[in-house]
Symmetry: C2
Amino acid sequence: MAKKQAADAPLLLGNQICFAIYSTAHAFNRVYKPLLDRLGLTYPQYLVMLVLWEHDGVPVKDIGERLFLDSGTLTPLLKRLEAAQLIKRTRDTADERQVLIALTPQGQSLREKARTVPQSILAASACSIAELSAMKNDLVALRDRLNAVVGE
Amino acid sequence: MAKKQAADAPLLLGNQICFAIYSTAHAFNRVYKPLLDRLGLTYPQYLVMLVLWEHDGVPVKDIGERLFLDSGTLTPLLKRLEAAQLIKRTRDTADERQVLIALTPQGQSLREKARTVPQSILAASACSIAELSAMKNDLVALRDRLNAVVGE
DNA sequence: TCACATTTAATTGTGCGCGATTGAATGCGG
DNA sequence: CCGCATTCAATCGCGCACAATTAAATGTGA
């Protein structure tokens, strides 16, 4: 009823979808933390492992495109995964600009221990798979539109 | 059809809602960046300003509860906002454990320059307000369930 | 072939985000 | 009133995230 309130509505924290996404991302992180601690991984490291479990032996560039991360983020992260004996980094002999990331046997076997993680997350979300899947699709569509704007 | 694929589905990056949220949050950040650069703010700083534009003179604790951030994050961030002359930090005389955060005149007037930000974000999302509002509500509900799990 | 642009990863600097700890101020139970 | 737990902000350490720069390798056109 107050016109003042309507004019201010866009600047109210509770009205911003972006804060909803931002705060939900952090909430997920807090749920993941104890689960990933058992694997010795951080969440971004877990994402890299997910990529490698799908496609082993890929260049840093590919991982970056998949996760929307650049070398400034990935290079130190990958060095930590290498120090943890989960991956090996080797220059591509065919194109020495590229560094290929390959799983070690430990990195491969970690996949089995990681299988229980998604179920725990699903349980914590207290949501049906259908609901989550629908939200996921909406989010991905939104993300792709946002990235299209940034990429001009 | 392959049973193998079904068993692996939960570990596929593309199937994880959490990665959808994570990557959408980063996409939002990239869209916000040039807009907030004009205000001299980072996104978390912008969130703090949103809180203060709603309730001026609040303790650090309140800001933290509103944004789900702790003093380890907020203390240095608030010092930077103070260095930028947007806020003032003063010990509460009634309870000297608390630090009250108040807007400076510059901090208050920045609100006017910030009014155009939400429209730009809305335009970049290429989404109706109704759609965004529905997603926001779903996300907040999900976030609150996740936080409830973490809080035991 | 050779200058020049492009691609790729690494590096540097700044700012979160959070767990863990510290220390001061307050509240409270006896 | 006094000891003790609690609350609150600050501090420290680590790991992202990203802009900007660097340097090496590759691709390209004259």
